[in-house]
Amino acid sequence: MSPVSNRIEERFRRLREERRKGLVVYIGAGDPDLEATRRLTLALDRAGVDVVELGVPFSDPLADGIVNQLAAQRGLASGTTPPKVLATVAAIRRESEVPVVLYIYFNLLHRVGLANFIRDAAAAGVDGLLVLDLPPEEADEYEGLMRDAGMCPIWLVAPTTPEARVERIARRAKGFIYYVSREGVTGMQASVSTTIADMTARIRRHSDLPIAVGFGISNPEQAREVARHAEAIVVGSAIVHRVATHGQDPAMPDQVGAFAAELARAVAEVSA
């Protein structure tokens, strides 16, 4: 059941060989509905996105800013549940090998049962989980199950993470390490954080894994700037905001895909 090589690891290996930087894009699953999510994910794949992060909607998304909160509300309103998100990933897998990470709050996993959820996610073709509110200290069982399922647990490092803790996190990481470049919630920002170069250097002292930097990147200029310091960048709210603007418009996936392609071109200008 578990793939021999994880799609995330495979993708970053290829990026390194081709001396390219990666683009990770976050969207809210079920916004405006899961069929749109399926079509949008395929459009993002065609646009050159390297990893798609699917946000599983939750009623209390306390790490998220208003743009992603509203997306989660729309996701819940369209009847999106964790099993339906997994069914959507399975449908995406019939047409695409784009690496998929689920961005999820622990309560949702806890309710279904960790073992069940991880087994079903791997079977659906999910490659990694980013559990927002599950620090490594609480994650022994989770890590074992993820390893057995062949999925990457994506760990976060924040500006407040001291070096000793960076080391502990780096040791457990697989796939890539996600540097949350801001103290704060998800959301678009006028300028990029100034902590990025220092913190990515700090992470590199403890790990050879690719580093993806996110939180606040909203346009191609910022994407280019951040890509200089990392193996990949993550864009969320700026994409989600565009999804919201197009709403039920059937052309939404192509429109948002075009913006993702702009980001991908900006990232491609920075060579590794």
Partner: protein, 295 residues
Amino acid sequence: MPDAEGHFGRFGGRYVPETLVHPLQQLEEEYFRAQADPAFQKELSYYLSEFVGRPTPLYLAERLTRELGGAKIYLKREDLLHTGAHKINNALGQVLLARRMGKTRIIAETGAGQHGVATATVSAMFGLQCVIYMGAVDCERQALNVYRMKMLGAEVVPVQAGQRTLKEAVNEAMRDWVTHVRSTHYILGTAYGAHPYPVMVRNFHRVIGDEARRQILEKEGRLPDCLMACVGGGSNAIGLFYPFLNDPGVAMVGWRPADTASCPSNMRRASMGARWACCRARAPTSSRTTTGRSS
């Protein structure tokens, strides 16, 4: 005591975004240092007696006892404390801790507004900036408390998301904290949240039970048959119950509201949950909950 990671059996722990993990570890260290520091304890008891108004009486409710015709009923009069509720025991303890840590800004969530008023009061006393998150529905329902908080110099932010009550106020306070964690201390108002909050809140409120135990022994020469407390998040209940946990024969009953208006649905849910940064568990659902061993 919880384990090293803040678990009480399968409950508790620390389910927060990475940004908050290290600040919570620092808070935990500083809290345990303060707890063991006689100077901190002295300062705390000074303000508890001189500013807050402790000890509170254990009052024999004669007419209620007669009317109900069963148990002899005593009331632990936390309502007589400054600002009108037990909430200030914890707000005071945490604000003193925030000062030790050099924090200049205080935030809190509030439901009915009592915790917000207590937090605004202790923040004003020490000249700290104070922001209170309160669901928009609660702001309307408890307009008088909103007025009191503003009068005390606090900024009250009405939260418009979701059901616009306590649950959303907690989420918004957490978002503020993640964003301003270096300057800001979050005075959580009840016995929930990530470690060390539950143990810290319990310890700041155990003064209720410590006094009550001493007082009942003075008045009756024996321990009570039963303790009763209302349960929102559980702070007054655990504060009263905790010092009696090793007393066999003292039954403990927590009462919770059955209607969603005064108790958000996820506080009533029987299933385990991992919401609000926090406790892996919600209390059992029935409106009558027996804690500890039965007697």
